[in-house]
Symmetry: C2
Subunit: 503 residues, 2 copies
């Protein structure tokens, strides 16, 4: 019994090292791997995943955890570590190996078919595999279990947002919908029309990268423990606390893509780089939830990156980098352009006001799917009618409608809601940060991003998974998740910007 | 019994996939990894090595091999595969786990101390760990065993050059020594003095890379199954047959470094890229020996890359890339400069004539060490006296003497001889290739490197480890390894170049 804790750590480190190696293989696949390396890479990655899963579900790990829970001498953080390790172990043993395997195999197929279906804009092609995935994930949800009086979908939410349930999220999402619709209506009435064409001038990728690196520097992203590369789909990967890499992409004719993409990923990366090093290789040195993760990227991308104070500082530097391109463009025009609000069809291109409605559509559809309330084949029609109702736009085809996102093809049901949670948390953190630093805008306007970074490091990052989400939220902001912060943020920012007001 | 073969393949693939993942981790460490990633990376790599070794020494693998050897239905290539898999298994089980571990731990320490010792040019610092490594490797040699009437050093040679023995190598090395000394003496008497200063002008690294990529293109190195990057120490890594990466480095003031370094690594890479894809993940799709590997890199670097025919083609292109730098330099001057022969102290900087003598010094010292004929402390004095005797130069200190190379610090005794074997094999292949293609120089002079590549693919690469070295050598060239080819090559090339002759 005395030896359980060190043995637990040894086992956790081994699982972590396998996952780190797998993460590097995946990073390399996106960033470096020559195309023909693909076949061999798939086998390598699958093997590492299997070895990690075997260890994660090893009964010996369960015995270790039992031993630890009988050990009266553990410190508070050791107890938290054991609690989180138990959580991961329970999940791993609850899902039968065959089911894991079948979901993984079906996902691989579904992904390939989704790519094809999206290209041909044919939901019918994708529907059979999507149905299969939904029913496999229902099995998984039943195997995992969910709270008394809850629904199977709760078990899926819990995989990305520990503890989240439909019962808790529903009112939050409804309120966010109302807040957002009110904002959109008011902004639509404004006579101020952003000129986004200034963002579509010619911005050389080399200079965009220079700009990105300049911002990374002000954000204090540690490049001796990270890298910036280019990839088709931008992402952040935490191979280890001291090896956290981000990627981005640049479009010559669309400045915001690379610019805010880089800031967004760096927001994720600052979280990963500041996880507690002393607990590296254990669940305590992992991010708390996907919602918390997204709160970091969105805070940096939108709350900071699209703020007037930040651009007061950065705009002269931007103009120096793009002297010819920016000719005749003033700070006010630029600030309005990067905060253009317009209901649109594609989630990843949506502005920060309309964005949440895309998520709410997904959330409502996912819930209905897993409550057996709707058949898969009805999804396109439902998607289109909800887009019309909430955003007032209707996709011309499934490719720009229900087929647009990759998540369902990889069985990632329950993931979308964390994007919205991230936005709400970000507003809540920011309101608290502003309370702690009433002169924050003056700091931002002189290029001081260190204040924000250190605050997030201290309040959120360094705790890893030590506290449950609701508790950490209370510790940071004094209350649990509250969508009103987001509403206040929108009113305070977009009201003056568009010369409108609403309540 | 019927199922042994597929099960063998499954096990071999798993070992291979683990090693591929480890190879990628090591590549990344040299090329991409941010400095702080070091600590975590060491753990990841060590874990993968352990997992691969466990599987390589698993008694279940031995049972599989036993089953296969009783299977009368195996094809010739399947039998060869079983033979080579048995060879790897036997090696893995013969060395006790504790010894593997101790050698690995001692090497890590020895490497760090060697770095320090070389910096301070103090052999005394390094001596104790070197002694320890020698005695551990003696244990290993005894555990591995060696042929009746042989010596323990044979067991070490065999790890890099399967089947090689001192008894066989001794006459080859002696003859090579005599051939080389005769060549050096004659060349020293020549009145033609190469002007190597033309190679020390300013060659921008960007253009050097362009030049390198141009040559890679003519060599038909497949960049869709490979990459070219920069690293401190150039190397080639075959992560998989379809993912073979090379690195190089450029010195602005020394053109040959990056130029011939790139060609050298590409020679290795062409071998790895043409191993039999159908047997990928098994020993059959591995290079036959380090000597064979080096024969590929040296053939491309020297026999092709430093030939007059090749530069007849490339020189105008080189001049176009470095118009100002190359002003006033003609093809003949350039050709003489890249073939300057001068006894020197540092192996990696040695020309192709004097190079083998550096190896012979190492070979003689290693043999003596493992025959207990000399104590470790006498190495510097012995090194210096042999350098004086064979090359006529004496190191001013141990850093440019016995401490110059990394190999001993990583317990790589028995590796050096494969460099010399590579040079001899390269000359033998080239003589055969010239017999098959009497117009080879005309082909090279019009940029046709495809002839050479295809010939090597067909004669050597595609066989992987199917045939033992002596048999493949006979299949390729009609006879076993014969140092006279190297002698003829030197006379045919350097005689006219320096206006001298010898026999």
């Amino acid at each position: 019994m005395k030896k359980s804790y060190p043995e637990l750590i040894r086992r956790l480190h081994e699982i972590h090292d396998l996952r780190s190696a797998a993460a590097l293989l995946e990073w390399d696949e996106q960033v470096c791997m020559p195309p023909k390396g693909n076949g061999a890479r798939a086998k390598q990655t699958a093997l590492l995943a299997t070895l990690a899963h075997e260890r994660q579900a090893d009964p010996g790990l369960g015995e270790c955890l039992d031993g630890c829970s009988r050990d009266p001498k553990l410190s508070a953080s050791q107890k938290a570590l054991v609690r989180e390790a138990r959580r991961d172990y329970d999940k791993a043993v609850k899902i039968p190996g065959d089911l894991v395997h079948e979901i993984s195999e079906t996902s691989v197929k579904a992904h390939a078919v989704w790519v094809e279906a999206r290209k041909k804009s044919s939901f019918r092609l994708f529907a059979p595999l999507l149905s299969r995935l939904v029913s496999l994930k229902k099995e998984e949800a039943e195997a995992l279990g969910y709270p008394e009086g809850g629904v199977p979908y709760d078990a899926l939410l819990d995989q990305f947002e520990p503890g989240a349930t439909v019962r808790e999220l529903d009112p939050v999402f409804k309120r966010t919908r109302d807040i957002t619709i009110a904002a959109i209506r008011s902004i639509a009435e404004s006579r101020r029309k952003p000129d986004v064409r200034i963002l579509r001038r010619r911005y050389s990728p080399e200079r965009q990268e220079k700009l990105g690196r300049l911002i990374l520097d002000y954000m204090h992203y540690d490049l001796t423990a990270g890298r910036l590369d280019r990839s088709v789909h931008p992402f952040t990967t935490g191979i280890d606390v001291q090896d956290v890499r981000i990627t981005t992409r640049y479009e010559e004719r669309w400045l915001p893509g690379g610019l805010f993409g880089t800031i967004h990923e760096a927001g994720h990366a600052l979280y990963e780089q500041a996880l507690p090093l002393a607990h590296s290789g254990t669940p305590l040195a992992e991010a708390l939830s996907m919602g918390f993760h997204e709160s970091q990227s969105r805070l940096w991308e939108n709350q900071i990156g699209r703020s007037f104070a930040f651009w007061k500082f950065l705009f002269p530097r931007l103009r120096r980098l793009f002297t010819d391109t920016m000719a005749g463009v003033g700070l006010d025009d630029f600030y309005l352009a990067i905060n253009a609000v317009r209901p649109s069809l594609i989630r990843v291109e949506a502005d920060e006001v309309t964005y949440n409605l895309h998520i709410i559509v997904r959330y409502e559809l996912e819930q209905a799917l897993f409550a057996r309330a709707i058949p898969v084949k009805d999804l396109p029609a439902l998607w289109n009618s909800k887009m019309k109702e909430y955003l007032g736009v209707v996709p011309r085809n499934d490719a720009e409608g229900v087929l647009q996102d990759i998540h369902w093809s990889s069985a990632g049901f329950g993931y979308f809601p964390t994007y919205l949670l991230g936005n709400l948390y970000a507003a809540q953190w920011m309101a608290t940060l502003r309370r702690d630093f009433p002169d924050l805008d003056r700091r931002l306007a002189r290029g001081d991003l260190q204040t924000v970074k250190k605050w997030l490091n201290d309040k959120i990052h360094r705790h890893g998974r030590r506290y449950p989400a609701s508790e950490l939220c209370r510790r940071v902001s004094g209350e649990t998740l509250n969508p009103e912060y987001f509403g206040k943020y929108l009113r305070a920012k977009y009201g003056p910007l568009y010369g409108v007001s609403w309540s």
